[in-house]
Symmetry: D2
Subunit: 343 residues, 4 copies
């Protein structure tokens, strides 16, 4: 039985507590939050878990085997490093850290102490992304051509981190898991509409080694909530709409080939197959449950979790490059290391 301590009982923490509680092999023994109100709320809901008024108190608790960190991103590194130094397995919400240097240090710490370090890339565990990954791994889509995602709504503004660190992190985590080629460069544009704050709208292009491309539009200032991703292969194309309650994933049996048009010297007509569309039945289990289970399993089996510290680092590296590109109004930033090995 892995004894879990959760730090941060704000927006996301209660979801983690609930899922680790109902996860076989785990028990939540401690909850930490600096706010007395939230600690009291946690106690009413989970009287069996000890309340810790400080992260340090929870981290040094000898009855805690693993620490789950659901605090604001700028605090991730310090808390995770302290927990690893105290010999605890660590689960950190995404993004792992605020820069790649910190991520690398956490990875090193975990490796030295042979502790699990997991990044909470929760979409990787969703039924929709797992189905899309199955389609890609089975080569049903053919050669991957592009990934295009729109992830916008009227959202929480953050002080230090721009909107990409809040929302594009989901797409970069998904791409890190499903995309075959390695990312090689990034271009991003964005705007700060409110002085003193980070970019609230941004557009991020990732270039891959195989000439494929990924683009993500993230936005805290949109009047409508959109979560729609197009994944285009040479054989089939997927539309993944996470706002839909049914048929989130639609697979279009469409493919194109280029032919010279007899009609016009200057145009080539796309010859496309327009076949059936199908929407596969998805596993509706909560992604967070599967994610919690993976953390516990990695501890029990002494192996790296599916979304480990390296995955967290790779995603942070791209975010870091993107934020740099934004300051150059789209100027390209090469990704020199930290990249996923080409498959």
């Amino acid at each position: 039985m892995v004894r879990i301590g959760v730090i941060g009982y704000g927006y996301w923490g209660p979801n983690l507590v609930r899922n680790f509680t109902e996860c076989a092999g785990a028990t939540v023994v401690a909850i930490g939050d600096a706010s007395p109100e939230r600690l009291a709320l946690a106690h009413r809901r989970m009287p069996s878990a000890r309340g810790a008024a400080s992260a340090a108190e929870l981290i040094r608790d000898p009855e805690v085997d693993a620490v789950v960190i659901a605090t604001p991103v700028p605090t991730h590194f310090e808390l995770a490093a302290a927990a690893l130094a105290a010999g605890k397995h660590v689960f950190v919400e995404k993004p792992l850290t605020t820069n790649s240097e910190q991520a690398r240090r956490l990875i090193d710490l975990a490796e030295k102490r042979r502790l699990a370090l997991m990044t909470g890339h929760v979409f990787v565990y969703s039924g929709a992304v797992r189905k899309i990954n199955d389609l890609i791994q089975a080569n049903d889509l053919g050669e991957l051509l592009y990934y295009d995602s729109v992830r916008i709504n009227l959202g929480l503004f953050q002080k230090e981190l721009d909107v990409m660190w809040d929302l594009a992190v989901h797409d970069l985590a998904i791409l890190d898991h499903i995309w075959k080629a390695a990312p090689v460069a990034v271009s991003a544009t964005g705007v700060k509409h409110f002085s003193g704050h980070a970019e609230d709208i941004a557009y991020l292009t990732v270039f891959y080694a195989d000439n494929s491309i990924a683009h993500v539009h993230v936005n805290w200032l949109a009047p409508v909530k959109i979560r729609r991703t197009l994944i285009c292969g040479s054989r089939k194309m997927v539309v993944y709409d996470d706002v839909e309650t049914a048929e989130k994933v639609r697979v279009y049996d469409k493919g194109v080939s280029i032919a010279h048009s007899p009609e016009a010297e200057h145009q080539m007509r796309v010859n496309y197959r327009a076949g059936d569309m199908f929407a596969p039945h998805l596993d509706n289990a909560e992604a967070l449950r599967a994610e919690a289970q993976e953390f516990i399993a990695s501890i029990e089996q002494g192996r790296k979790p599916l979304t480990d510290g390296e995955a967290g680092l790779r995603v942070v590296s791209i975010l870091e490059a993107a934020s740099k590109s934004v300051t150059m109004r789209g100027g390209v930033v090469e990704l020199n290391g930290d990249r996923k090995a080409a498959i």
Copy 2:
């Protein structure tokens, strides 16, 4: 009565012929197309119009007062220049030319000969864009923050020109008409998925002098047809969905202000008004009809049309910069001249 000759009876030409025919003050007297089949089709439908086997023949026809050019883009300049040289008023489909130098020369030619030169920026004449423009000019939206457009489908590939010249041209024409600030720089990314052809997917960011931003996603390889534009103001936000048959324009009475959150040091909560949404009734008249009427009116009144050669030049200048930026994987390109004067 303005006597019209139309060059090009392919995909778009028949629509122009039909609309100029039904336009008060105009009559279509000649139709030119290099293809005998298309010329025969034009004759069956419009026996009263002379068929011209070559553009040159139509241009020198003394009974033609004005030439309408609906041929592939690379031929626009030569045909338009010849028609102006022959003393004809000229209407050219968008984009006006393949580069800004050509556009400038057409403008000069038209000015010297005191002839009308119009660019077929058809969306400017649609009920939806006119309504949006009314909202902006009446300052209903407040300060403009961003314009975001997705214009994708499984489309015609072109040999010489990338997908931006085919699809983003619509958004740039709309922006040229409705946006208050002047564009100052461009960053664009894109990919050629088929060797020997132009980019089939592209992302274009336009930076404006007032810190607002426009972004356009254009794509010939999408399994679904999307035509959706978000226009965000500090007071209200618009969603314009051109695929909808009803309520194409929706106005959201939403606005944001930033406040420090008492809950979290690292976050600021958006305080937003979530008021009514309304979808104004739109004029459903065909945009092309209004466009044709504007060309005729500009000739009759000896004035510049609403979407004149300068508008065509400004749009071409941005496309030119965008295509250059794509080769630099997003590297910013400043727009030095040709810009719309700040309002």
Copy 3:
């Protein structure tokens, strides 16, 4: 070459003229309309067809082999009877006549003179209905349980005939073609909101011999246009949305079985398979073209058309019963004859 004369050049007539013109084996030689304006319009578009100022003139024209009737429903019987009496093949728009007695007389007339009599049940020829019919005939849906259709919009009001004769006729024509069992009784309710006019909203239930049921909601007073049909089988369920531009037909791999719930004495939980959904690719050819072709083929081959006079009679019989039921506020009306033989 079948020489066609079309009577009625109002809303629907021009579509029939266009499609018979482009139909192999047919030529439109005459167009009749009582309105000089419409006759003039027909002439401008089709100078090769003679204009007839009266139906009688067109019917006695010896160069007309077949008469196509697209006039208001109350005139159908008289015109069709006259045309058959004059030895012409006859195509009549739906509904065939205003009562079943008239329909039977047209059938008798056609049989005696060995002439083709076709009813314009156009939806039977659409790609969507043909695909649904294929699914049913292949027994993919299992046992048919119900058909439910909503066909509403802000529409044309008619003087003599209620909204069912205008809109439910489409569903009854589809049902006549695809449904396996024979209709045995009808119940309908409706309201006349405008004095002196027929019902503008109506609800029609058809009971079938095999315990299946069909229901149609038709309405001229709806603020939105809906054309959505559910077809439920014991194995699969279909949603056919004719307003959609893509994926009009969606097939849900869902089925139910009833099991006693261990949880509650008074409830049984539906055990349902929730499998994939798929949207088959449809033939996008115009239904009207296939319909015109069927009329010509039936004449050339001396056989009955797919939607013959009997089909027209069966649909009219149900409409007749439904209008009678409306006056009894839903009182059931048995269908005694004219029914489709059980398959």
Copy 4:
């Protein structure tokens, strides 16, 4: 402080417990359920509430002031009668009872003992229905013409009660609250597809004294979930889509007037205003919270709740008539009493 005892901790009971717990002026002191598992679950979540293994035990508990009944419908009458006899205020989930005779007896019991009797017509308390009611009461819609509702999905089957008692009850409760005229007669059709069970699909028409009409389509066998209501007035029309997450209520500024068409003797063209559509901002508070608050307020103030026993009776009377009409395949059933007084 009103001390609440909740009987039934199955599907809906936990929602009632949660809302009465968070409701000012109320405290949940006892929860009853015959299932030991559910009682244990209730205890884990609400250790402060006593668990009662039988309804009788809870009803005779002197510390319970008011009993909330969330058990299967056939048990409602007996439990409510016992609770009223024991001097408790009573809240009963909808439908109030399985027949109007029982409903009348509960009303009499409550009146004699001067106790509150409330029916859980929850939709009446939703932001959407309250907004629609405001529009109607302010006469914004004009004269009411029809109400049309589709309420379908793959649902729970019930043994004794047909689908109308499960789903149409919501629409009848809404109509009882918002409609101006009194219902005078009912016609309903439906089918039992599974032997030994009640109707799983039904269509219900309610005729009102002012020539308006209401129709409800309810269905446990639909592949898609639809909750869409049209409310048509002579001035404006409402579409209320409860599946939408945003803009549930849309108001169309459309109205019709009938004019004789110059074009056709047999048709009259609808002259309709096609004005703006607007979607008013709705109060997103949980309807169940407002409902709970109303029960408490009615007890505290010694007045009848908004949805009292009479409202429950009126709805049950229509359901009773509808079930009778179904056995006559749509034969009309007059509503003789129990009707809402015309306004």
